[in-house]
C-alpha cells in the first residue's frame, strides 16, 4: 500500500468533517495523520514524515512545500476557505491534483490548468430519521456565525409568524466574536435555546423534532450539517453560495436566500421540498458510493511533479508562501505576484502555440501565460 500523509486543519478535530474521507482513504492507503493550525507559525519539520503521496485537506497553501520536494500532492480545498484566493494561488499549485467538493472551485482549478475531480459527498440517509410532520414549522439554527447575521433576527425576517418554534444552539465558532442579535421578547414564535449538549444524542433529539434547518454559515466546504438536515427531510434554508447552491436547487429541495437582502417569503410546499431533500440525499448517496473508487484511483494516480532540485530555492519559496498566506489576503496576493518566476517553476507552464491566432510582442501568446494577466513590468526575482 502507498503511504499517504493526510494533512488537516486542526479545526476539524472539533467538527470531524474529514472523517468520512479519512475512512475512505484507509481502504486504499496506509494513512498517517497530522493536523496543523493555519494560524500558528509553520514548522516544516511537522510535515517531515515519509510518504508516497501527500493529501492536504483544506490546507492548500502547504502544497508548494510538498511539490518543491517532488512529492505527489493531492489537494482537497474547501470553498469557504479558498474561494477568495487569487488565480495565482492555483497556478502555484498546478502540479498538484485536486479533489474538489465544490463545483465552483473545481472550475477555478481547471481553468488554472490543474487536474481536478469534482466529488459530491452525501451522508448515509438510512442512519437518519425522517421528519415527516409538517403540520407546524419548527426550525433549528446553530448560531455558529453571529457575525454573519445568521441569527434569530434573520429567521424572523424570513418566516415570521409562519414558524411555530425556533431552537437556537448558541455555540459560535469564534467565541471572541461579537454576540449575535438576541431573540426579541415578543418574537412571533416560541424560542428555545441551548449552549451545550452532554452528548450527541441530545442534539439529535432536538433536530428530530424540527423540520426547518437554517444553514449556519454563509458558505461551506462540504456542509455536513445541512446535508444531514436534507437527509432528515428537513427544509434547508441557506445562503446562496457554494456549496449550498450546488446541493440545493432553489425551491425544489431547499431554499436559497441572500442573507442580507431576502425578506419574508411564504412557507409553501415545505413538505414537498423536505421530501425532495431526502430523495436528493438517497440518490446522491448512491452516486457517491459509485464515485468512491474513481476518487481513490484519481488520488493513487498522483505522480511526482518532476521538479528538479533547486538548491533550496523552491523550499524557501514554499516557506515564504506559507508566511505570506498567514499574513492575510493582501500580503498573499502581493507575494504571489512578486514571485511569478518561481510560480512558473512550480506550476507547469503549458504551451498553446496559437489560442487566439495572434502572437504578442514578447513572442508568446495569451495561452503561454495560461490565461493569467502578465505583469507589465518584469517580475522581481524570488
Amino acid at each position: 500500500m502507498k503511504r499517504l500523509l493526510f494533512v488537516d486543519h486542526d479545526f476539524h478535530g472539533k467538527t470531524r468533517s474529514h472523517e468520512f474521507f479519512l475512512r475512505l482513504l484507509e481502504t486504499r492507503f496506509e494513512v498517517s495523520y497530522v493536523a496543523l493550525s493555519p494560524l500558528e507559525p509553520f514548522d516544516p519539520r511537522a510535515l517531515d514524515r515519509p510518504c508516497d503521496v501527500a493529501l492536504l485537506w483544506q490546507m492548500d497553501f502547504l502544497a508548494p512545500h510538498f511539490l518543491a520536494r517532488d512529492i505527489p500532492t493531492v489537494v482537497c480545498p474547501m470553498y469557504d476557505g479558498s474561494a477568495g484566493l487569487p488565480d495565482l494561488h492555483w497556478v502555484a499549485l498546478r502540479r498538484a491534483r485536486f479533489v474538489n467538493f465544490s463545483y465552483a472551485l473545481h472550475n477555478a482549478v481547471r481553468l488554472a490548468g490543474a487536474a481536478s475531480l469534482h466529488a459530491k459527498y452525501y451522508p448515509d440517509p438510512s442512519m437518519l430519521p425522517i421528519c415527516g410532520d409538517f403540520s407546524t414549522l419548527r426550525a433549528f439554527l446553530w448560531v455558529r456565525r453571529p457575525e454573519e447575521a445568521i441569527d434569530c433576527a434573520l429567521v424572523e425576517r424570513l418566516l415570521g409568524d409562519q414558524l411555530d418554534s425556533l431552537h437556537l444552539h448558541e455555540v459560535p465558532d469564534n467565541r471572541a466574536a461579537p454576540a449575535g442579535r438576541a431573540p426579541r421578547g415578543d418574537a412571533p414564535f416560541r424560542v428555545t435555546r441551548s449552549a451545550w449538549f452532554p452528548d450527541r444524542g441530545d442534539l439529535d433529539r432536538i433536530l428530530s423534532d424540527c423540520n426547518v434547518y437554517i444553514a449556519p454559515r454563509s458558505a461551506e466546504g462540504i456542509g455536513m450539517g445541512f446535508l444531514e438536515a436534507m437527509a432528515r427531510g428537513m427544509v434547508v434554508i441557506a445562503n446562496d453560495l457554494p456549496t449550498h447552491n450546488e446541493y440545493i436547487a432553489n425551491w425544489v429541495n431547499g431554499i436559497l436566500i441572500d442573507r442580507k437582502r431576502t425578506g419574508r417569503f411564504a412557507a409553501e410546499r415545505f413538505e414537498a421540498i423536505g421530501r425532495k431533500a431526502r430523495l436528493s440525499v438517497e440518490l446522491g448517496r448512491r452516486h457517491w458510493l459509485e464515485q468512491q473508487d474513481a476518487v481513490l484511483r484519481f488520488i493513487d494516480a498522483a505522480e511526482p511533479p518532476g521538479i528538479a532540485a533547486s538548491g533550496g530555492l523552491l523550499e524557501d519559496f514554499a516557506l515564504g508562501l506559507v508566511g505570506a498566506y498567514q499574513r492575510g489576503g493582501q500580503a498573499y496576493g502581493a507575494f504571489l505576484a512578486d514571485n511569478y518566476l518561481a510560480l512558473g517553476l512550480l506550476g507547469e507552464r503549458r504551451r498553446h502555440a496559437r489560442r487566439d491566432g495572434v502572437a504578442d510582442a514578447t513572442g508568446g501568446t495569451a495561452a503561454d501565460r495560461g490565461g493569467e494577466a502578465e505583469p507589465r513590468s518584469a517580475p522581481r526575482a524570488a
Binding site: Y103, N107, N245, L283, R354, G357, G363
Partner: protein, 400 residues
Amino acid sequence: MTGRLFVLDPVCALPYGHNLEAMKYFQTYFEGWERFDEVACVACRHLGEQESARAFHRLFEFYYQDLLPIPSGPHSEQVARLGHVEYGQWLDQACVADARAVFGRFGITAADRLFYPSADFYGALGLLVHLADLPAEEWPRVHLRFVGALEGGSRHYAEPRALLLALLRRRLGTGRLFISAETPVYASFLSEALSVPVSVTPYPLMSGELDWPGDDEPFTVFFPGAARHDKGFLRIAEIIGRFQEEYYEAFGETRPLRVYAQDLRPQDAAAHLRHIGQLCGLPGFHLLPDSLPTAEMRRHAARAHVFVLPYAADVYALRGSAVLMEALAFGRPVVAEGGTGFADQIRYYRAGSLCATPAEYVASLMACARTPAAALRLRAAQARHRFAVDSEAAYREWIR
C-alpha cells in the same frame, strides 16, 4: 482484393472525441468488407501514443490551431510567431506538402482509395491541389464525406466552404471523386451546389446493442456528448427542472429519476457557475466530466432509458450527430431538436421524438417514462434494424 483503402483525418489529433473513434470505426468497418488489400488510418502527427491508435500512421500537420487549439503544443516556435497572413500562407503550403507526403509515403496509385470520414477544409484543399498536378488516370478514388464540421475551417479565406465546393466542381468530371454527406438535408445542399447526386452516409453501426437497464434502476435520462452551448447544455436545467416536477407528480418518489450530463469545458463553464451549481442541485442529477473515456460513456449509456439531444437547430441545420448514431447502435430512443440536420433520420427511422420547446421535451420524456420498457426497447430495435440496412446499402453503393 481491389487495392488499399486509406482512412484519412488530419483533424484527428486528440485521444478523445469522435474523430479518433470515427477512424477506428471505419477501419474496422471496411476491414469487415474483406475487399481491400489493406485498410490503414492516417491521422495528425500530433496524435499522442494511445494504445487504441497504435497502428495509425501519423502524418498531417494540425491546421486548426487558431480554431480548435490542442493542448499538446503542436507547433514549432517559428509557426507560433507568424502573423495572420504568414500563418495562412503556411497553412496553404503545409496542407499541399502533407498531401504529397501521403502519396509519397504510401505510394498511392489508381488502385487505391482515399476515404475522408470528416472532410476538412485544408485536408481537402491540399489533396485537390496535389491531384491537379496528376493526370486523372493516376488518381486514386477519393471519397469525401461531409459532416458539416470543418469543411469551412479557415480564417484565411472569406468563404472557405464555397472555395472548396468550387474546386470540387472542377474535378468531379474526372469520375474519381465521390462526395457524400452525413445527413439527407446536407446531401441535398451539396447536390444543388455541385450539380451531382450526393449519397447519404451516416455512421455505420459499429456498436452492439446495450442491455436494457434493470427494472429496479431509476428512470435515467442521458445528455451525452461533450457539453457545449450549441449542444444545448444551458437548456438542460429548464427541461429537467420541469420534467422532474411532472415526473414525480405522476410516479411519486418510489420510482426515482436520474439524469446524466457532461460538463462544459472550464472556459465555457466560468460564466455559468451558479447555473451549473443549480443543475447539480437537482435531485438525481449527476454531472459527468467534460471528457470521458469511451468505456465510461458506454457505462452511462447502458444505464439510460433515453438520450436527449437539445442541439441548436441553427448550428446543426445541416449536421449529423454521432451521438444519434450511438443511440441507434445501442438501442435507445432519442428526444431531440427538430430542425437539425439529423431530424430527418429520427423521423424516418422512428428513432424517437422531435421537439422545439421545453414543454415538448417534457411531454416527450413523460411519454418515454410512461411507456413500458419492453415497448421502448422494441421500438429502438426496429429503428436500429432499418437504419443498419440502409446505412450498409449506402456505403456499398458509394464505395463500389
